[in-house]
């Protein structure tokens, strides 16, 4: 998976599951303060990401460190790389 794929597919999750306009989906956007997600929405986000990328991240401690959309792109890429090893 390329970085562009990770960005495109993550943005699709935000657009489809949360109906957030694409112009707001910037790598530096804070998912809490800028995009308006809360802890319960994060649960929905994790489920949607798992479905989209066919991965299991629910119990991954690194999810707790995610703050920005860019963090999610990098997290997805890291997970995918780990799976391909």
């Amino acid at each position: 998976m390329t970085e562009q794929d990770a960005i495109r597919m993550t943005n699709e999750v935000f657009a489809d599951s949360f109906e957030i306009p694409k112009e707001k989906l910037l790598p530096e956007a804070n998912i809490f303060n800028d995009l308006g997600l809360d802890s319960l929405d994060i649960v929905d986000l994790v489920v949607a990401l798992q479905k989209k990328f066919q991965i299991i991240i629910r119990s991954d401690e690194r999810v707790r460190n995610i703050r920005t959309l860019g963090d999610i792109y990098q997290f997805i890429l890291t997970i995918k790389k780990e799976l391909n090893k």
Binding site: S17, F18, E19, F32, N33, G36, L37, D38, L40, D41, D44
Partner: protein, 251 residues
């Protein structure tokens, strides 16, 4: 002159509030105990919650008058039967008292600080007010759903904390998840003018006009297809637009 007004306002307000609290509370407490011996718990709770509303209305409408005035406008238009979920913006510590103007049995979902208020915190706890910080979502869901089924309206400040710049903060989604399951009419309640009554971090009230606009209820037919995220932002947008107009108009 302004300092004198503020001093007069605060001396009279706090004197009357404390006196009222100290004289009415023993009477109310005795009445509730007598009620509890005679009537079922449901009726006792109903009376207690209405008594809290009356207390809030008296404290905020009468004690600071005429230096603090209250303007309440009801734009709800239709008579959709309750109970309701009131969604309010949050600028001041006076917000929970303002909800006393609502003519219903209401339980407020509040942050931890109102429970720490002397006397009032204990009364709020007895009346079943919900501390959103201490409840896991599952418990919150069960308690709020039960209240709606009993016909009790719920008022929530979904920002969770007071705004420091009059903007409307991001909303928490917990109560909107309950609304989607309970199919309850949601009423936006917009409050402006009380950002200095009192200001954040100060106990001192300033003179001013508090405006409350009750907007048209949003029924389940309208929001049934929404996700919790979309629903919370839909309500937030409505409140942002209305409070901006209320701030501009200054009426």
């Amino acid at each position: 002159m302004r300092i004198l007004k503020i001093a007069y306002l605060n001396i009279t307000f706090y004197f009357l509030t404390v006196t009222f609290l100290l004289t009415c509370l023993p009477a109310l407490g005795s009445l509730i105990i007598i009620f509890a011996l005679i009537f079922p718990k449901r009726i006792v709770m109903k009376r207690l919650r209405r008594a809290i509303s009356w207390f809030g209305a008296v404290v905020i409408k009468i004690f600071p008058w005429p230096l603090v005035r209250l303007s309440y406008k009801d734009f709800s238009e239709s008579n959709i039967p309750g109970p309701y979920l009131f969604i309010c913006n949050h600028r001041s510590a006076s917000d929970p008292f303002l909800l006393g103007i609502l003519p219903y049995e209401v339980v407020q979902v509040v942050n931890i600080w109102p429970f720490r208020l002397p006397i009032l915190g204990v009364v709020a706890k007895i009346a079943g007010y919900l501390n959103v910080r201490e409840l896991p979502f599952e418990t919150f869901f069960i308690k709020t759903t039960k209240l709606f089924k009993e016909g009790v309206s719920i008022a929530v400040f979904p920002e969770g904390t007071r705004s420091r710049d009059n903007s409307v903060g991001q909303f928490h989604s917990a109560i909107f998840r309950v609304a989607l399951e309970s199919r309850i009419p949601i009423v936006p309640l917009c409050i402006t003018g009380n950002e200095n009554i009192p200001p954040v971090g100060s106990p001192y009230l300033r003179p001013g006009l508090i405006k409350i606009h009750r907007l048209k209820a949003i029924t389940w037919d309208k929001y049934r297809s929404f996700s919790p995220f979309k629903l919370k932002n839909y309500l937030r947008e409505i409140i942002i637009k209305e409070t901006a107009l209320m701030d501009q108009r200054n009426v």
